[in-house]
Amino acid sequence: MNDDISPVLKICVWVLLALVVAPLVVPVLMSVSDTPFITFPPQGFTTEWYGKVLTDAEAQGTFLFSLKLAGVVTLISLILGVPCAAGLVRYDLPGQGLILGLILSPLIVPLIVIGVALLQTFAMLGSRATFAQLVIGHTVVCLPYVIRTVSGSFVLVNRSLEDAASVMGASPLTVARRVVWPQVRPGICAGGIFAFIVSFDDYPISMWLADGRNFPVPLFLHSMIERSFDPSIAAMAALMIFFALLLVLMIEKAFGISLARLIS
């Protein structure tokens, strides 16, 4: 950290970090407790609960389902989001503000409301395709994240590099591949990983749209809490935290510096 940052600001940052991180530490600590029920502070140490969760067929099934769902949602969010972000940045379109506002609105409207609205819509249409419904619901909430990060990276693209490339004889397609892509790749990857995490962790939308065979991890976790109260729930929660952390570290590792530019 920089030395000219005022101490007040430093304290604020640390308090904020503590507030964000502390609740995450609790389930991790509880997950290693050597007791048949959840306690805090933990007593003893065991990795038994992790073993139980990881070998549980139901848990594995729901984990694989969430991976599949998040994967499909990420793909669709990128396919829709990247051209949309590029278009919004590059062209002066009529109603640009309105389009952006609509796309970003899921960040403002409570997710639970969006979930209900989608459920009612699908019911009215008589749809039974649960997986497709989940994909649509998740894509609606993931798209804003993709568009925000990707449009950020398009804003930073140096246009004169493109001019230089085309004067040197590069066709528009070559310019996109050789000049634009290397510049926007970090933003697109980050947007994709954000979308993946948001979909993987989503509860409020899935709650309305899931069924017995299409059952993502957060719902499974909730049902486990209702069924039992041993530390395997904490172990499951901790695994989700580690998984998300791993993804964030991957972004940081791959594009740390360029990302700092994007977000600041």
Partner: protein
């Protein structure tokens, strides 16, 4: 993509009635200009006069709203940028940050489908030409400003473009490096026989680099002439002012004779041997370069091209001393070469300024 064949060097560029408007704002209008094959032309003008717009219209990066761009006898309107086979140097150099110096230079050759082995050889050859041998493997971020500029230049010439376009290429360099690069660029263009169009707002740079200078003002061409001529014979007051003539006096023609054209300014009688024949009574402006003026101490008899006054202020500029002389009709500024300075003009003393009739320019407006 189909490889672009290397054309013969130095294409002729012809602009006919070229213009560009943004809404009602005519940023460039009615530009008629022919740049001969192998010629170096400077497009000179103040900020915002439309130089970059004109250059980018030639490159194809901006569509003209009127007129035509003809390269090698063929109109290139509608021909996409990447098929025009031009070279361009951008003000910020626009080097690809993720490619090495060699890869940057190789880019244009790659686009032309040149075989791999030949690419490396030609890229290195171009880097040698701009004296950058040994830097092939560096990334642009590891280069100094001058080295980046050379890389950009090598990248623009390596595939022997039909025309080389430069937009304020030396703006970011310090003075010494700039002068060095100007001389090198001039030599390089001559060696390669490239048709070159260079945009600048620096009159000195235009004179150093160009065979001909085109002065622009408010989106229009004001004068196009060889460097020497534009310096010694500016056609209009604007061009004169832009070319560093600071003494502009409104005059009335009083008559012509074998000796030259006689003119009357406030407090000064002038005689010009380089003026067009103007009828008596015509209003005009005379333009005298500060360097053309000779200063002598003391009063003088009334005679043409002589004016006596009081030294109002002086300014030391290293090579020359600028002296402002207040006379009864106004003020006139002289630049005395420091090497010829015998006596320092003291403020408040009486001096006489005089200048040759051959250096008394008469301009319009």
């Amino acid at each position: 993509m189909a490889p672009i064949t290397n054309q013969s060097r130095g294409a002729e560029v012809r602009l006919t009635g070229l213009g560009r408007s943004y809404g009602d704002n005519r940023v460039v209008q009615s530009v008629d200009l022919t740049i001969k094959g192998g010629e170096i032309l400077a497009l000179l003008g103040p900020s915002g006069c439309g130089k970059t717009t004109t250059l980018r219209m030639i490159a194809g990066l901006i569509e003209p709203t009127e007129g035509d761009v003809i390269i090698d006898g063929r109109s290139v309107i509608g021909l996409p940028v990447h098929k025009r086979n031009l070279g361009m140097l951008f003000q910020d150099y626009a080097l690809f940050p993720h490619l090495t110096v060699r890869e940057n230079v190789a880019f244009g050759l790659e686009m032309r489908g040149v075989p791999k082995a030949e690419i490396a050889a030609r890229a290195d050859e171009a880097l040698r030409k701009v004296r950058l041998a040994g830097f092939e493997a560096r990334m642009p971020a590891q280069l100094s400003g001058g080295q980046r500029q050379r890389t950009a230049l090598a990248r623009a010439i390596v595939y022997q473009p039909r025309v080389l376009l430069l937009d304020e290429p030396f703006g970011a360099l310090d003075r010494k490096l700039r002068e060095e690069m100007q001389v090198e660029l001039r030599a390089l263009c001559a060696e390669l026989g490239l048709t070159t169009i260079i945009v600048t707002h620096d009159q000195e740079e235009a004179l150093i680099l160009a065979d001909r200078v085109a002065v622009m003002e408010g989106g229009r061409l004001r004068q196009v002439a060889p460097a020497q001529e534009i310096y010694h014979r500016p056609a209009t007051q604007f061009v004169a002012d832009f070319m560093g003539v600071t003494n502009l006096l409104p005059v009335t023609v009083t008559g012509g004779s074998a000796e030259g054209l006689a003119l009357q300014a406030a407090g000064v009688i002038c005689l010009s041997t380089v003026a067009p024949d103007l009828p008596k009574g015509t209003k005009a402006t005379i333009a005298i370069r500060p360097e053309s003026i000779v200063m002598q101490m003391g009063e003088s008899m009334p005679q043409p091209n002589h004016v006596t006054g009081t030294v109002a202020r002086t300014a030391f500029r290293g090579q020359a001393l600028s002296v402002w002389l207040q006379h009864q009709g106004g003020e006139i500024v002289a630049a005395i070469p420091t090497g010829q300075l015998v006596e320092m003009p003291q403020i408040g003393t009486r001096w006489t300024a005089s200048w040759p009739a051959a250096r008394t320019l008469v301009v319009q407006g």
